[in-house]
Symmetry: C2
Subunit: 108 residues, 2 copies
């Protein structure tokens, strides 16, 4: 079963025998805040995904999938019946893509 994004970062860090301070330095952030991220008390800032991918030589698209799926999971969990919402979201994404093709751009 899947882990959260925070747990994923923690695993990357510990598997590479790094301290919070060491990884935080690489990501240009406070180690205390990184700890909160690993423990699900704060969100990882999207703009640092590239640094994370670079440092651990991860595929950025896979990392983004990890990241965004986590945001979505947190948002839906508790609020809403999951499967139906996600199915509908998928339809809507397709709709937005269609709309973009027709209109050129799309401001959301």
């Amino acid at each position: 079963m899947k882990e959260t994004f925070g747990e994923y970062v923690k695993r990357l860090r510990t598997e590479n025998n790094l301290t919070l301070t060491q990884l935080a330095a690489q990501l240009d952030m406070d180690s205390a805040n990184l700890s909160k991220i690993e423990n699900g008390k704060r969100d990882f800032d999207e703009k640092r995904l590239i640094k994370l991918a670079d440092f651990f030589s991860l595929n950025i698209d896979i990392l983004k999938t990890e990241f965004f799926s986590d945001l979505i999971a947190k948002k839906i969990y508790q609020t809403n019946y999951c499967h139906e919402t996600l199915m509908l979201a998928e339809e809507k994404i397709k709709y937005l893509q269609q709309k973009q093709i027709k209109q050129g751009t799309l401001n959301l």
Copy 2:
């Protein structure tokens, strides 16, 4: 093919022959901002979902599904490959639910 949440609201409004001003009054908001919502230039505020459901006698859960799927669609669209992210999100929701069962509560 699915519509956006804004288009959905607009459809509800026009099918019921209401002006923006009339619906905005029911939702306790500015009609100019409601217009932006219908046209995808602002987000509908979650806290007004209940008023919307009440006024149009909609099932709140179905409405929430419409609402949250829209948020997700907007977030993923452009950024990420859709299907894979949503599949992973579903797994993560299950994981969070499992985690909650074990821990009692979960702060995210």
